[in-house]
């Protein structure tokens, strides 16, 4: 528990900033919806008929003129991309920052097993991601109330669940990498998150690259599919969960044997 508390305290500023920015943007997006929906008549159809561009963002399958459709696309970009970046940064620095800042000599010479260190750091990463997403849910509910929209709870909650799992998967992959690299890695984490995001867009564009949806955690977060199908795409989700477990196991396996120099 000591390391967990320490980690949360160390990551507090970063968590506050990322949460504030993401919550602010979500709130703004929702609050401008009434204004936008007035101008939406006709535009929605235009959005849906932009071919590849529409498909890339899933706009061919959902009605942009409805709140849930608008929210799905906007939320997908703000919470999906923002959350993924935050998850990647937090995950990749969790273990490697100790070596980067030469604090590993301090921490690891205390009577605590390496597994314990990894476990507490992992919990702290997941906890911080949950806090960020809880704030996103909170600000979404509040903003929706303000503009007087009462969308279907189920698809919205499924979307939030998908984003949360996606962020945890991204963090787990980066956490696994974190155990292997000595220092740095922030760029790698951000690059990976961005790559996942664009993989999903590419996968939406062409049939031949649809397999990418198995690789990228964004594959199961497509709000268009969630709203249309009423559930998270199971086959992508299972692969995602397996990758999450692999990332976490890799971290435990590697950190136990790692030479700190």
């Amino acid at each position: 528990m000591t390391i967990l508390k320490h980690e949360i305290r160390q990551g507090r500023n970063s968590l506050i900033i990322w949460t504030a920015v993401i919550a602010f943007m979500l709130g703004v997006c929702i609050l401008i919806y009434p204004e936008m929906s007035k101008q939406m008549d006709g535009i929605s159809e235009a959005f849906a008929n932009m071919g590849g561009f529409s498909a890339a963002f899933g706009m061919d399958k959902i009605n942009f003129g409805e709140f849930i459709g608008f929210f799905g696309v906007e939320c997908g970009n703000v919470l999906g991309l923002g959350g993924a970046f935050y998850a990647a940064l937090t995950g990749i620095s969790a273990l490697s920052k100790e070596e980067r800042e030469h604090t590993a000599e301090f921490l690891l010479t205390h009577p605590i097993s390496r597994q314990n260190v990894v476990a507490q750091k992992l919990v702290s990463v997941i906890l911080q991601i949950i806090i960020l997403n809880a704030a996103a849910v909170g600000i979404t509910s509040l903003s929706s109330l303000i503009i007087g929209e009462t969308p279907d709870i189920k698809p919205i909650m499924l979307m939030f669940a998908a984003y949360l799992i996606m962020q945890i998967e991204t963090a787990a992959i980066c956490f696994g990498i974190s155990a292997f690299i000595g220092r740095g890695g922030l760029g790698l984490g951000l690059g990976l998150a961005a790559a996942f995001y664009f993989m999903n867009i590419v996968a939406n564009l062409t049939e031949s690259s649809a397999f990418l949806k198995y690789i990228t955690p964004f594959g199961y977060t497509d709000s268009a599919d969630i709203i249309a199908d009423g559930h998270i795409e199971f086959k992508y989700l299972v692969v995602g969960l397996v990758i999450t477990v692999i990332g976490i196991c890799a971290a435990f396996w590697k950190y136990q044997r790692k030479d700190i120099s």
């Binding site: 000591t2 390391i3 320490h6 160390q10 800042e101 030469h102 604090t103 590993a104 000599e105 301090f106 921490l107 690891l108 010479t109 205390h110 009577p111 605590i112 097993s113 314990n116 044997r257 030479d259 700190i260 120099s261």
Partner: protein, 292 residues
């Protein structure tokens, strides 16, 4: 019981040598100095003892238990050579965090140590000079009163007054039964404070003995004035010539030396015990000759 015991300890970083075949024994209650030039393998040995790295082969035990395990680390207070802490934390918080990681309340002892070392606990780590960060490291290594202190080049960065206070604290702890294992390349420190010492060079342990025995070898340091080259007898090493003064270490029979000197135009003579530094250089050079 031995506080530290390594058998055939070997560590390779890929193909690069860390240490090889190190057999080191430190008895409980010792004040032990670990001497060697930079890159000799001091830190590698210490990192294995503290579990930061694992050995390629051989064994390392602390009080009979495998090095690096949590219950072994509970007996150790470790001070790394490079001292870094978490940004944004205050001195007080770091010291408390260290105690909490040990599940101990060391407030009383840490307060006492901070007072003796004149360490301001309300400052932020980022505001501290190197010397003051060293002090934080000292408090973290000593506050839980460990059975064994492992200190990697502890005095670098400390001012002379603090160095003295630091050694006073170490000697007090040692008198209470704590085993102290410290590495240094400052030989006068080791000679002054340590009971036993080992010399490591290029990853190999050259010698391990009481500091007194190391210093009181049968070798004498001889300084002669009035001549410009050393007497031609066996047992002479480490020759230094400076004008009409010749210095060397002599390890042969005293009578032979005196007989030879009687026939030389000597104006001044000085025969003393060599200090550890010279003995260290002696080992150093001897080994150089063996290699060539």
């Amino acid at each position: 019981m031995n506080a530290v015991e390594t058998v055939s300890l070997t560590k390779f970083y890929g193909k690069a040598r860390g240490v090889s075949d190190v057999n080191l024994t430190v008895a409980e209650g010792d004040l032990f100095g670990f001497i060697g030039p930079n890159g000799a393998g001091k830190s590698t040995t210490i990192r294995i003892l503290t579990g930061l790295i694992s050995q390629t082969s051989g064994t390392a035990k602390i009080f009979g238990k495998d090095a690096g395990k949590p219950d072994t680390l509970a007996d150790i207070g470790y001070m790394p050579s490079e001292t870094n802490f978490y940004h944004g934390m205050k001195v007080r918080e770091v010291i408390k965090y260290s105690a909490k990681l040990r599940k101990l309340d060391c407030t009383k002892e840490s307060t006492r140590l901070c007072e003796r070392l004149e360490l301001d606990v309300n400052k932020k780590i980022s505001e501290l000079s190197l010397g003051n960060r060293k002090k934080v490291s000292i408090v973290c290594a000593l506050q839980h009163k460990p059975r064994l202190c492992i200190l990697d080049e502890p005095t670098s960065g400390l001012d002379p007054l603090m160095q003295r206070e630091f050694y006073v604290i170490l000697e007090e702890r040692n008198a209470e039964g704590t085993t102290i294992f410290l590495s240094s390349h400052i030989l006068s420190e080791i000679q002054k404070y340590c009971k036993r010492a080992a010399v490591i060079r290029e990853g190999r342990l050259l010698v391990c003995d009481k500091v007194d025995n190391l210093v009181h070898t049968n070798a004498k340091k001889v300084t002669l004035s009035g001549i410009s080259e050393p007497p031609k007898i066996d047992g002479i090493g480490n020759v230094e010539i400076d004008g009409d003064t010749v210095k060397f270490l002599y390890g042969g029979e005293p009578r032979t030396l005196l007989n030879t000197l009687g026939n030389l135009p000597i104006t001044d003579i000085n025969i003393t015990e060599p200090d550890l530094e010279e003995i260290f250089m002696h080992y150093y050079k001897e080994d150089n000759c063996d290699n060539s």
